[in-house]
Amino acid sequence: MSEYPEYDPGSIYEDLRKVLPEEVLSRSLFERINNALDPYTFASDISQEEVPYLVVRPRSTVEVSELMKYAHSNRIPVFVRGSGTSLQGASRYFHKGIVLNVSKLNHLDIMKDYGFVEFGPGHRVLHVKEQLEKEGYFLPLVPGSIRVASIGGIISNNTTAHAVDSCMGKPRDYILGLEAVLPTGEVLQTGTKSLRRAAGTDLTHYFVGGDGLLGIITSIRMRLLPGFKNAYGVAFSDDPIPLARAVQRVYLEKAPPPLFLEFLDKRVAQISFEIQGLPSPPGPLIMFHAIGQTEEEATFKINQLVKVINKESPIEAKRIDDLDEWRKIWLARESALPFICQAGKGVFGLSEIVSTVPSLVDCLKDAMNMSKGMPTLEKIGKPYLFGHIGALTFHPVFIIPVDWPPEEKGKVLDEMFLREAEINTKYGTCGGEWGQFARRTPFYIKRYGEKAFQLVREVKKVFDPNNILNPDVLR
């Protein structure tokens, strides 16, 4: 039995109409459905019982606060939603509730004098990136879904996505402060307006990487990061193992950490290079992108990387000076997933395997053999493999035939997340891009123990005594 009372959507609408303007409320059936889907709906359609009562698209912190006060006092679940692109199931709901869509929380002020930018959580990441680039700044958030992903979700997950952590860090390293609305409706300011960040307890850190469990972020203050000069390189091999060893060397020999260091296995490299009109690579490859304050610095870093990578005797490792060539190579990486999907006439299941430096070679082998022993994954065969090898992350991809029944597609996802958990447990790692809960909750419990999970629940209860905010994230 649900811990929440059942409500009539009409009465919720009428009640909210008293405290919120009509234009921020949507009762449309199709809008409610669309706000309850995630990228894995192909494996399980939502049921009519799961359609949210209402979609609310507040335009200000005050409106968010009004909504939360109402939801808290009536014990109605509220699901905070950006673009719904979560790949670990955080934007899938199993209770009836209200969707709080953040798309209209979209202020953006670049405050050069202070050295920070303030923005709402509803922007698409790409939009913020473009606005900052116009002013000569760099946004250290680079998800594959940059065109659609909303920046609030990225901050809640504390992910820089494709970037190498040891070069770029995590969003938490750049966020100076936040405004957040608690599940009870109170508004909280955290952090500082100074570039000198708070020492000691800073509630900012509860929300950045808080998986959306503790409050609704309504404004983010982030340090401005000046733009960089860039240099690029690529290495080809006939075997993936030397490439993994080369990445280990980058760390062990103190080579300058690149901004990006990406891996494509042979199949992915050949499909995506062909699409971009590049010569077919002989096997797997890595591509890397270094940054510096000057072109000389960036070039120096790339040369250092090439030198270190060459010690593993790849077929070729080189700096790329032709920007057009680099753009095509980078596009090949970016278009890898769509084109392997389309070549395989299917939809994808994507997982996230994270390694340590010493285990990188073994982890690569485990990722390549991920299907082994998993009955449904074995039907598909070996996964396609690419990933941010410099950030010690692999993304094995399973292309699921589109004509498989949903239950079978669901089994692919279940087995994939189970194997992902096993491998990450083996190496003592956890996801570095996506959140820790939703589909991954069992892994969290296994990895950190019941006590840790209980503590998370108790911390949530302090912020959210009625457990109304994103309750299905901790499923």
């Binding site: 059936l29 199709f30 459905i33 990228p39 192909f42 798309s103 790409l126 769509p338 994808f348």
Partner: protein
Amino acid sequence: MSEGHEMQDQDTKEQLKKDILDILAYCINCRFCLPSCPRFDITTGDISQGASGITRALYYAIKWRVTDKGILTELRDVLYSCMTCKNCEIACKNLSTGTKLIDAIERGRELLIEEMIGPMPEQKRALESLYNYGNPYGMSSLKRKSWLKGLNVTSFSKEVEVLFYVGCTAPNDFNVQNIAKGLVQLLEKAQIRFGILEDEICCGYPSLKMGERGLFEEICEKNLKQFKSLGVKRMVTLSPHCFDTFLSRYPQEAMKEIKVQHYSQFLADLINEKRIVFQKNTAKKVMYQDSCYLGRYNNIYDEPRRILKSIPGLELLEFRKCKADSLCCGGGGGRMWADFDTEVDRLAHMRVKEACEMGAEIIVTACPWCLINMVDGVKLANVEDSMKIRDLAEFCADAL
């Protein structure tokens, strides 16, 4: 209705539903299509108003066998609001699973026609007119020919080299007539032996896009019969919509003997062969509005630009979103006959504002519907004194 007919109707509906669900099985709700959807851009931010939000609405209406009239009417309003500009499909192909979203939308419209829910109320009159008069504007055959007054245009016969397929919009709209007249002037200048159909009827595009497939097939049959009896081997269309319909939607086998071109392709060839040379200096800053059905549907981006660049003195500027990224004018997919109150701006208006900001003096289009919408955009932006909208044919004729 007889029992047999009812069963046949039921089979058609079930087949359409199956087709739609099969197409949408590829969609993973990644929403990569949404930022590309112009319809989403001009509404208030509801996901169900754009691209995969529309197709997901259709998906669940079928899955849950929705019969509630109010909800189906809501579905109709979003389904018919799509411009079929194809931006979503291109985004999906480049970034995701390559789902044929427009195919699903078109079949969804057919399904709503079968269910007697579609098309939009204002579109019904266009379809009735198409059935009764062979054009969506309720034009008599006399009016259809009125634009020819003062011109020496012959009817197409076997002795004539090229069929000039005029389409329905030019004869119906005084401003658009000048496009047809301009093209006649250019063809005469190049000494092309061309003719028009004595009794031209619509290509069927509006019926196809509004979901009235039966009517489209009837029109298609009539046209093919006429083309065959007249021995048409080469056809030049004024509208990109007619062009795409003949090229891609008519039976390939029946059309294989006929070379179909949009007039911009035909003119580009004539310029290349020096059969048309522009003499007049036209020192203007011009922006070209890519038509969706020329550009994204048929990859015709260079020909219109080559033509414009061959005009002496002309400076060609580009919109920020151009070619494959170009913004639709808002007129495709049957929208010339419908208004949608969920829209907070007009695409043509946005386009005109951008052209003004970029310092353009003239926007040139190569599509009658783009022209009509852009003229409205100029009025809405209140820039009639500083911004002119011209069609490529008319503009080129003036530069001779």
